[in-house]
């Protein structure tokens, strides 16, 4: 009897020991949209096929739930890898000492040369804290058939052409631009591009870092330019009532012609509309200002409290490879940051890729580049401005008050 007990105990102990030695890699991700989920599952399957002794445990969260949960798991029971965004959103956690410095991965894989466009967004004080797996270009998705109906043959390249084209569309009874501002961020896309085209990337970056007043004349100029469109009825009415998806039917039904958005919108068009949809970049406003783009970057990060950092680094090296990035970005309808990767053979991906490769600099996105509290107040201000352009001075004063609370007086 005693022998049997001892045997059982020994077996149990061995079992525990072997589970301990099996290499578990825990990944927590916020990639809950269908395409994202599929891309992530493929990525993990490929990784497990390449490294059969690593067992990946994949925990998928809804986007908003992830924001809440990550503040808990980063400090308590950290996974080995997480998905998150480059830029200020990453910097917040780097400053708190919660993200691992992975410059060694960048060096050993020579990623500085392989992913030049995203080095800045992945760095804090010259060190890298994550490895991007995909990024994407913003631009105008428009219906070619509606443009033709309004007699427009060419997409606009500068501000005057853009406004003329809008007038033509309105004459044809079509609202030029659809937008849903219930989730706030689609309006921030407009602010980013107008500011980048009018004041350039350095000013935009300073503004995002809280080093410039929102009541500055250069910011006012952005809103004055924007007001030309708002007061000219370029946007669909009642946009605060719609989420970004709910604003799409205007385009699907032929009531509106364009949408300034990111590639994830492509899969949301119905098949018959999608074949008429084309893409053009945000027009130039000031010739003397270079071409700067918003290119939000999604990346993998290792929490400082992770248990299996060695295999996490293995995963980062795997993710950075050109062929892996080709596949992942292709499934995501996004672009691979690795310059040796191939872009999906698709007019939107090709257009976005061409635009980003001639860009003189990229930013992440308003709510990824600046403090979250300021981003919220700012975006509410943009929404209010798009409904009431005459209130701009009040709105800017309010955003400035929030900026001052966070970054201090200037």
């Amino acid at each position: 009897m005693k022998q049997l007990k001892r045997l059982l105990l020994a077996t149990a102990l061995t079992a525990i020991a072997t589970t301990g030695f099996a290499r578990d890699l825990v990944i927590n991700a916020n990639t809950s949209d269908p395409a994202q989920k599929l891309a992530m599952e493929n990525l993990i399957n490929d990784f497990e096929a390449a490294y059969p002794d690593v067992d990946v445990k994949f925990n998928l969260y809804d986007h908003e739930a992830f924001k809440v949960a990550m503040r808990n798991f980063l400090t308590s029971d950290a996974p080995d890898l997480i998905t998150w965004n480059a830029g200020n959103r990453m910097k917040v956690f780097v400053d708190l000492g919660l993200f691992e410095d992975v410059s060694d991965v960048w060096e050993s894989e020579n990623l500085y040369e392989k992913m030049p466009a995203v080095v800045g967004a992945s760095s804090v004080d010259g060190k890298q804290y994550g490895v991007p797996y995909a990024y994407y270009a913003w631009g105008f998705y428009y219906r070619k058939d509606l443009f033709e109906k309004a007699g427009i043959t060419q997409t606009p390249t500068n501000w005057e052409e853009f406004k003329t084209m809008g007038e033509q569309l309105k004459t044809a009874g079509i609202t030029p631009v659809t937008i849903g501002t219930k989730n706030l961020w689609p309006s921030a896309g407009w602010f980013d591009f107008l500011n980048l085209r009018i004041n350039g990337v350095d000013f935009h970056a300073e503004l995002m870092d809280g080093q410039v007043k929102y009541t500055d004349d250069r910011v006012k100029k952005v809103f004055a330019t924007w007001a030309e469109l708002v007061e000219g009825d370029f946007f669909v009415k009642n946009h605060p009532a719609y989420s970004f998806q709910e604003a799409l039917p205007f385009m699907n039904q032929g009531d509106a012609a364009m949408y300034l958005l990111a590639p994830f919108i492509v899969s949301m068009f119905p098949e018959d509309v999608r074949k008429n949809v084309e893409w053009f970049p945000f027009p130039i406003i000031d010739e003397s200002v270079g071409i700067y783009e918003d290119a939000p970057t999604d990346s993998f990060h290792i929490p400082v409290n992770a248990k299996n950092k060695e295999d996490a680094r293995l995963f980062l090296r795997f993710v950075a490879q050109a062929d892996v990035q080709t596949k992942t970005a292709g499934t995501l309808d996004m672009l691979p940051p690795n310059i040796n990767a191939t872009v999906k053979d698709d007019r939107f991906a090709k257009g976005g890729f061409a635009q980003l490769s001639r860009a003189s600099g990229i930013m992440q996105f308003y709510d990824r580049d600046t403090d979250p509290a300021l981003a919220k107040v700012g975006m509410q201000g943009f929404q209010e401005f798009m409904q009431n352009p005459d209130r701009i001075d009040d709105i800017l004063a309010r955003i400035e008050a929030e900026r001052e609370r966070i970054y201090g007086a200037l």
Binding site: R71, L74, L96, L98, N238, H239, P240, A241, Q387
Partner: protein, 305 residues
């Protein structure tokens, strides 16, 4: 069992026996009280403590005294949310009133009335999220039900959820739908226990219609009315899910309420201390109401004895 069997085992006047009337209730309460302290009282104390701190949710905490409250009193969004909460409170009281009339109407013995009753009760069973979505679709100014009905009549509905003047009322209307159903059920149960002889007697004395309702039926429904109002007021003060689903507090905070503003600050603006200050204010408002409620309850209990 006699004393002879265990002569010296226990003295008759043990401490436990003497204080039985105090100890027994305490023993019964203890487990519940332990849980309550751990999951309710402790978090409340913790929230109040957090309201004096500047904190992102992780990382260093900084003691800033009453700074959060000072900021709160200078924050127009806080006042807007408070005013909206008052709108909720006042307009939500329509729920018991409408509920009463629906209950009176449904309190008949006709074939199929149970089905009708359950249809009226249906909105309360549906999740608030679904109610919010359905009403959002109703209100949709371009493709929604109301707009589609009004269009052939040449009428145009203002876009309720996109308008800073109407959004709050649009959300409250959506909230009234399930709340009315709930009050209706309370009254239907109350009506079951209305003494038919009393009503009969009043009828013989010539009372009918409004008089009969106000003087004979309503007093007998006092218990139901009391609960309906209590539940409705609490529902109005903690209104959150419909706001989150239908407007996210927008457009530009015009439909915000305290509960949602607190959530927004804690989760999306990373201002946990500030959110705790809002929560504390909301807690104080609820406290005032609950004290009033307990005092009434106590008075009622004494009255019935």
């Amino acid at each position: 069992m006699t004393d002879i069997a265990f002569p010296a085992a226990r003295p008759r006047n043990s401490f436990f026996r003497r204080n039985r009337l105090v100890i027994m209730p305490l023993l019964f309460i203890a487990p519940a009280f332990g849980m309550f302290s751990l999951f309710v009282i402790y978090p409340i104390a913790q929230s109040i403590a957090l309201s004096f701190i500047e904190w992102q949710g992780i990382g260093p905490k900084k003691w800033i005294g009453f700074q959060n409250y000072i900021m709160l009193f200078n924050d127009p969004v806080f006042w807007k949310s408070l005013v909206n909460n008052i709108y909720w409170l006042v307009l939500f009281l329509l729920a018991p009133v409408i509920g009463l009339f629906v209950a009176l109407y449904l309190n008949q013995k006709v074939f199929g009335i149970r089905l009708i009753k359950s249809l009226f009760f249906f909105p309360f069973v549906v999740s608030q999220v679904v109610v919010g979505l359905v009403f959002t679709w109703f209100y949709d100014p371009a493709f929604g039900l109301i707009a589609t009905i009004l269009k052939p009549l040449g009428l145009q509905l203002p876009s309720i959820l996109a308008s800073e003047d109407w959004a709050t009322f649009g959300v409250i209307t959506a909230g009234l739908w399930p709340q009315t159903a709930y009050c209706m059920i309370l009254y239907l149960t109350g009506l079951n226990s209305v003494n038919p002889e009393m009503v009969e007697a009043a009828r013989l004395d010539g009372a009918k219609g409004w008089n009969l309702l106000v003087k004979i039926v309503l007093p007998q429904l006092r218990a139901a009315t009391f609960i309906a109002i209590v539940v409705t007021v609490i529902g109005a003060l903690r209104s959150f899910d419909l706001v989150a689903i239908m407007t996210e507090g927008g457009p530009y905070n015009s439909s915000n309420v305290l509960a949602f503003y607190m959530y927004d600050n804690a989760i999306f603006r990373y201002r946990v201390g500030y959110a705790a200050a809002i929560a504390t204010i909301l807690f104080l408002i609820m406290d005032i109401y609950i004290v009033w409620f307990l005092m009434r309850l106590l008075k009622n209990e004494k009255g019935t004895r």
